[in-house]
Every structure is written in C-alpha cells, then in structure tokens.
Amino acid sequence: MKTDKKILKSASMVAGALLTTTLATTPSFGADILAYNSLGSGAQVRSHLIDMNSNQVNPMETNALKFAELKCGEGKCGEGKCGEDDKKEDAKKSEATKAKTTETATESKSAEAKCGEGKCGEGEKKETTKKSEKK
C-alpha cells in the first residue's frame, strides 16, 4: 500500500536522495553538513502550518483556525469543564522545559492531542489506552 512507501525503514531507500540533495545542499566545509531543524511539537507544527496556509487566498481561513483549536475533540467533551485551562498551562510549562525545539514558535491554541483522546485528562486516558493495548 502507498502508506508503506512513505515510511522509511532502510538506508538504501535514501540512496537516491543522497545523490541529488546532500552534495547540493552542502555549501561548504564551514557550514554544518549535518544541520537539521526541529519543527517542534504537533501543536506547534499545526499552528505554524495552518497560519502559513491560511495566509493564502482562501476564504475559509477563519474556519480552518477554528478547527485547529478543536483538533482533539475537545468540543465534544465540554470545553472548559474539565480543567482545560489548567491543563493548557501545564502543557505550556512542560513544553517550555522539555522541548528546546522551537524557541521562537509561539504556543498555539491547538491542543497537543489530535487523536480524539480529548484534552481533559489526556495523560490518564493515554495511559489507560496503552494498558489496554498491552492486554
């Protein structure tokens, strides 16, 4: 299936790209040939890309942003009723300390979880899910 083709498992799959990209993108020995960039957490990537794509000629940009905020199904579990604000603050704190990744990126409104696990008690839910999967 097409899905598998997009997941890279072996170094041989990158051989072609090495020929075409590595040398071309290595400007000189002075630059770091192994430089890469961190895009941040899921929420940061979403926020950034939605913002970039919404700046295009697109009449639905406001809707798109609204959807981003609801990405984890929070609308269904009752936004604000389950300690969401605290959760958001906690998430911000831990993101700030744990992820050095995006110093400049601002924390988006979009929640971290996108899988419908819900913002409220996401951590607990995830643990429960994992436990049940183990069984």
């Binding site: 799959m13 075409t20 590595t22 890309l49 959807f67 050095k100 990744t101 999967e133």
Partner: protein
C-alpha cells in the same frame, strides 16, 4: 446476538442512504425524517476528519475539502469500527483514487499522510525500550535510540512550506516524528537525506558512529577527519538532548 437477515438488509440500506443520500423506502421509517440520520452521521464524519486534518482544511478551503469528504463518505465505504482510524481510511481512499492528481493538488497525498502520521505516532502501541545508560561517548559507544519514531518520506515539503510554494518544490524530503518518552507528545524534525542515512544505518548496524564514519564521509563526499567528528558529535548530541536518542547501550 445474531441479527435476522431482514434486519441486516434494512441496516445496510439505511447505511447506504446515509452515505449516498439516495432515498429508498425502508420499513419502519417515518416519512420526511430519514434525512436527519444522514445529516447527523455526515456531521460526525466531517467533524472527525476536520479535526484530524486541520492543515489540509486550511490549505484547500472549505469547498474542496467538502468535496473530498463527500466523495469519501459516499464511495469510500469506511470499514473501521474505530473512529480515530477513520482519517487513515480517508487518506488511503484518496491516495488510491489519485484524488490529488484529479483535482490538480499534487501535494494532497503528502499532506494527508503527514497529518495522519501525528495521530499514528501518538496513538501507536508502546514499542519496547532498549536498556541504556546515561553516560557514554557519542562517537565510541553504541547509541540507544528512542524506538517510538518513524521517518516519513515526502515528495512535497508540506511540512515546512505553505502548499502554494510546496507544489513547486517536488523532490525528496524527510520528516522524523517521534514520541517523547514521558509526555507522549509527538515531536517533528525536518531532516536532510544525510541525517536520515546516518540514523537508519546506525539502527541497521547497531554499532558506534565511529565504525560507520568512513562510510558517512564517502556518502557525503567529504574527508573523514575532525570536521566530520565535530559534525557527528553535534548531531548526535542534539538528538540526545531532544530524546530521540535515549542514551548509550550498555557494553
């Protein structure tokens, strides 16, 4: 409980109506009310998919987005009983029908897949962690990688550019997604082909960086010297800080 054949048929007819909107007579349905079933189910599917693909929605606009949802809903016949997997079926449906090509949105597959992968990495079952120690030498010791990651190969840089620009930049791009050990948050890295080569070779060979250094130099077309040592130390040290590398394997 086993359903009667007749009941199954009626359920399937109702399901078909909800997906396609083509009305048919069903026993037990009050006239003029059946459309509410379609409306409600359609809303659930649309909401689930919008929630999963907010970047795609932003990039395509509502009209094109609804076209994709409608096409999937009426012709896709979603199979999964798990709602969170519906976005994967949505992606697979449009990839198999080459919707991107048909709608002149060549980046569509990549964009849907990239968004799906966050869900996949976030929700996937735990993978066994290797035993590791925190102290070690980045070049001389075998590195213990965080096993909960995937490297995604994209044709269009939809992970770094707005689609309007990405569609003009067809090539080979790599994004590494991994799950943070404690929080479970998904992190994204934009890697070069050489970065990917090093990570995959280390995973394949399970040897210290020093042992594949010459190979890396050959592939990169540079001399294996102090410059490469410094670059490898910086690269692996950075991944260690980001918890993509957990530590060092015990000797």
């Amino acid at each position: 409980m086993k359903l009667r054949k007749e009941t199954i048929e009626i359920q399937e007819q109702l399901g078909a109506y909800c997906r396609t909107g083509i009305e048919q007579e069903l026993p037990g349905i009050t006239p003029g009310r059946i459309h509410h079933y379609r409306r409600l189910i359609s809303n659930v599917v649309n909401d689930t998919l919008r929630t999963a693909f907010p970047i795609t929605v932003a990039a395509l606009g509502d009209e094109t987005w609804l076209l994709l949802v409608e096409d999937f809903f009426s012709a896709g016949v979603p199979q999964t009983p798990q709602v969170w997997k519906l976005p994967l079926e949505f992606y697979q449906f449009h990839a198999s029908r080459e919707s991107g090509k048909r709608l002149n949105l060549p980046f569509l597959d990549d964009l849907l897949y990239f968004e799906w992968m966050e869900i996949e990495i976030h929700t996937m079952p735990d993978r066994p962690y290797p035993d590791f120690v925190n102290e070690g030498d980045l070049l001389k010791d075998t590195l213990a990688f965080n096993p909960e990651y995937e490297i995604v190969k994209l044709e269009y840089p939809v992970h770094t550019h707005p689609v309007r620009e990405a569609r003009e930049l067809k090539g080979e791009y790599f994004s590494l997604l991994y799950r943070m050990p404690e929080s479970g948050n998904v992190q994204f890295l934009n890697l070069s082909a050489l970065n990917v080569y090093i990570i995959t070779r280390l995973q394949e060979e399970k040897v210290p960086l020093n042992e594949i250094k010459n190979e890396i130099a050959r592939v990169a077309g540079i001399e294996s010297g102090r410059y490469l040592d410094d670059a490898l130390t910086k690269f692996s040290g950075d991944l260690l800080e980001r918890k993509m590398i957990l530590g060092f394997k015990e000797k």
